[in-house]
């Protein structure tokens, strides 16, 4: 175990494993999808064995991605209910980024407002990506062309927004020191919890 015995447990082994399966699938789906989206990203298709292989495996990675998110959804949805304090926190995100400090932010539960929003957005995006992706999957499905045209636009647009969101998610984890430990080893220091998730800290320590 890494860290000291006073650390608080934030994610158990199952949750961490689940998160990383989703994360790896997301990166693979994003890289292969981007290669088919803009010629600038075409060389990424070489990572997957060329254009044909990229076309073949992208939808299967997508299916695995959505399927592996299901247990995450079941486990995390309870911690992600949006409350007024979450919206207050979100309103002040820009201020926090400019100051480079979160000490004046409203106290947060296990997940902060932006994390909760990302969770719900991910649920909606996964559903949209799955359905539009199926509509585009010419190897196995043929849908009316107008439907496919709506699907390709939605798939590309949501895909781009989703990647933006995940870049921010990753950056936030790098920016706030000690956060990645929560997903790598499952624990965070008490000081980390107190500063970033005060409500959760109290729940964990007052028990």
């Amino acid at each position: 175990m890494i860290g000291n015995s006073n650390d608080l447990t934030r994610h158990n082994a199952f949750e961490r494993t689940n998160h990383w399966i989703v994360a790896v699938c997301f990166v693979l789906a994003a890289l292969s999808g981007m290669s088919l989206f803009h010629p600038f990203f075409w060389p990424l298709s070489l990572l997957f064995g060329g254009g044909v292989w990229t076309r073949i495996i992208h939808p299967f990675i997508g299916l695995l991605l959505v399927a592996s998110f299901v247990p995450m959804f079941v486990r995390f949805r309870g911690f992600n209910r949006m409350k007024p304090a979450d919206w207050d926190w979100i309103k002040r995100v820009w201020e926090m980024a400019q100051r480079g400090d979160d000490r004046n932010m409203p106290p947060q539960e296990k997940y902060n407002g932006a994390q909760k929003l990302i969770f719900w957005a991910a649920c909606a995006f996964f559903l949209l990506m799955a359905f539009t992706g199926l509509a585009m999957w010419r190897a196995y499905f043929t849908f009316p062309v107008t439907l496919v045209r709506f699907a390709v636009v939605i798939h590309a647009a949501i895909g781009a927004v989703f990647i933006v969101m995940i870049i921010l998610h990753i950056y936030a984890a790098i920016w706030v020191r000690g956060t990645i430990n929560a997903m790598l080893y499952g624990t965070v220091s008490r000081a980390w919890a107190k500063q970033h998730h005060k409500i959760w800290y109290r729940q964990m320590t007052e028990r």
């Binding site: 390709v152 870049i167 020191r177």
Partner: protein, 296 residues
Amino acid sequence: MALQSLDIRHRSATTTPSPSQRRTEEVAKLIDVTTCIGCKACQAACLEWNDIRDDVGTNNGFYDNPPDLTASSWTVMRYSEIREGGGLQWLIRKDGCMHCQEPGCLKACPSPGAIIQYSNGIVDFHEEECIGCGYCITGCPFNIPRLSAKDGKVYKCTLCSDRVAVGIEPACIKACPTGALQFGTKEQMRDYARYRIADLKSRGFANAGLYDPAGVGGTHVMYVLHHADRPGLYSGLTADPGISPLVALWKGAAKSLAAGALGALVLGSFFHYVARGPIEISGEREDEQEKEGDAK
């Protein structure tokens, strides 16, 4: 393909100029629907020249055979019977790739060089580069490309780019017994169409005209129609084809904007880190808070 590597106007999924040193004249195939007898010699010639055989199908009770374009049948005759002016008219349209000046397939294709438009206007698929995604089918305003179940590649009429490159007409033109199929420069074909339309008008087809739709910048396969005011009569020929606004949005400026936004975000995050540094909890503060926490 190698025969025509110096005169490329557009190449799919390519952002730099393609070899275009050689300039060729724009060509066109003219399909005079009014003199077509529906013999399907063009269909047979297409299979013969390209040396492809379609699977033997089933008789569906009408003349269309095969009933639709396939990855092997790049042209099919579509027969429609209509009542017009107190009589029956048998409208027979040779369907196949229209070789659009602004091809929706090429716009949609994500694989560099899988779809080529030559300066003579021919839109050609290079199946070696095809990845089988079917985006061209989504982009095509005429529902032409067909995905092969055999090899996962998309096929369609090449306008016999291999024959045209060495100065001979497409195979279907050569086979046509009535002169309903003509081939030449686009200008010549327009002139010939004018002559045909004047003849048709003198015979009572007041709405005879040329089908060269402006919505796709004109086509390199054009029709002479008796009822040019109602192209839909000809087995659903699209009246006003164009690249769907959805496809234009998908593979237009928006994709460059999105790609730029992703790059800017990564750079922006990096420089935010450089300028503001991470949110860190100092060791001293950590001890203090831990004591506080333990005291509770």
